[in-house]
């Protein structure tokens, strides 16, 4: 499924960054993608299904979550953090700011795959 990706704050992500970035709490808070209910139906998945979100810049596995901020069909939201940042647009358009919001993406359910922790994501970037 094609979608427009944005990233940003959530309360759970805000709590998790205050001392819990090395724990599962961070993965549960920011390793997710909020999907509109109608889009969830089209994808035939549930909250908790692992999906692969791919953009021109990379791909990342995150857990699908039914969005409570619907309706926003065609728009997906990954909380700010290393999962979203694996795939957002790095072009700063001459003002220093990468494109954290508004990145064309493709979603694919990958129920057999895992969601990596923030620490694992960093280890992969070190290679």
């Amino acid at each position: 499924m094609k979608a427009n990706l944005i990233s940003g704050r959530t309360i759970q992500q805000g709590r998790a960054i205050e001392g819990y970035k090395h724990t599962d709490e961070y993965t549960r808070a920011a390793g997710i993608v909020e999907i509109d209910p109608e889009d969830m139906k089209k994808l035939k998945i549930y909250t908790g299904t692992v999906v692969k979100v791919s953009t021109e810049f990379g791909s990342v596995n995150v857990r699908a979550v039914l969005s409570s901020n619907y309706p926003h069909p065609g728009l997906i939201f990954i909380p700010m953090g290393p999962w979203a940042n694996a795939i957002i647009n790095t072009d700063t358009t001459s003002v220093g700011m990468p494109a954290f919001k508004g990145v064309p993406s493709v979603l694919k359910p990958v129920p057999e795959e895992k969601v990596l922790s923030a620490t694992e994501l960093m280890r992969n970037l070190k290679k």
């Binding site: 427009n4 944005i6 940003g8 704050r9 959530t10 309360i11 992500q13 805000g14 709590r15 960054i17 205050e18 001392g19 819990y20 970035k21 090395h22 810049f57 990379g58 969005s67 901020n69 619907y70 309706p71 926003h72 728009l75 939201f77 700010m80 953090g81 290393p82 940042n85 694996a86 795939i87 957002i88 647009n89 790095t90 700063t92 358009t93 001459s94 003002v95 220093g96 700011m97 990468p98 494109a99 954290f100 919001k101 508004g102 923030a118 620490t119 994501l121 960093m122 280890r123 970037l125 070190k126």
Partner: protein
Amino acid sequence: MTESSTRKVTDVTCPFCGSLCDDIEVDVENNQIKTVYNACTIGTTKFMTANEADQRFTKPMIRKDGVLVPISWDKAIEEAAKILRKADRPLLYGFSSTSTEAQNYGFQIAEELGAVLDQTASVCHGPSVVAIQDTGYSGATLGEIKSRANVIVYWGSNPSAAHPRHMSRYSMFVRGFFRDKGAKDRTLIVVDPRNTDAAKLADYYIPVEQGKDYELVAAMRAALRGVDIPATVAGIPKEKILEVLEIMKKAYFGVLFFGMGLTQTFGRHRNIDIAINLVRELNSVSKWIISPMRGHYNVTGAGTVWSWQTGYPFAIDFARGYPRYNPGEYAANDVLRNGEADAALIVASDPGAHFPAVSVKHLAKIPLIAVDCHQTPTTELANLVLPASIVGIETEGTAYRMDHVPIHLRKVRDAPGECLSDVEILKRIFNKVKELPA
């Protein structure tokens, strides 16, 4: 038998977001934070996780064979200074979650080294600062807004996620001097591509098409001048746009709060530029101000301190011996993405988590010194971790609220282990760097 006494500390300022709530109270027992009163869930978490357990760094650490091991402060400072001196193009970044006193040292070290100096605004409200430099702005303090504003707009901003008490303390729900009925005296307008918790509270919710905010503001400006606008703009029907514009025109005092929905999308600073101009033009029929929702509790301070010291708020290069400013060339993501930075001193921030992967890949390759209190993706990449005490909890300091009001942060308890304040750490690095030959 000793009595354990619970000490209640009042007039505490919360060191989380730009709201800088200064009505917090904390119960401390045996130097542990026991209870936090009045703070939101995120602020409360920040206080509670100060209690060490396994979350805090309490000794300086150096990475040996891939693992962080403790070293002495003297060795750590010497190693940090050597790394920075040896580098041709060191990057100093972060500084938004620390005091103005520490931000001052950040500038001093960068100037001494001829380094690149940047702060978290470059991934937050940097574009807003650029727009304000281009076109000015009409602002006000949160106190004025609380007392007077009767039309509140949140545009591309979700305070329920990032500034949880903002609406209760400063804008919508609080009783103000001229708005003594609180929310009943006010109208809330939220512009957001998603129906967020803030949008659900709004009197008028505008589900703008993501990335088309510029067009919507342009249509409002045109309509304000009596020019006819298309049937639909940015996914919003003309009737709705005109309806909301009428509310804004008839405001006694209106405020446009805005956030990442404008700064991080296509157009960046131009989105804020046009929003500032809409607000300016609304002042021909009403009284309007615009106010950026600054994210961190002292990101405003970083820009303020460095502006008075260097003339520039972020993305500053000292390589030629004097400060030069160019977001797009000297912002942290620029020098990382281009592979220019060959060492990094990251203070009170977490680019590992919050920078795009291409920048983080580069950070992973270069010597990285992290000044932080908790384990983060950045400390996972760091060669050297310098454990800091938390401003507003374990060390005093000054911070600038999002509306540029400076507020003093208190010390509530002693820092754990061998933690030093950011000021002390940076002062030691600065003195050591000066000792080493250039």
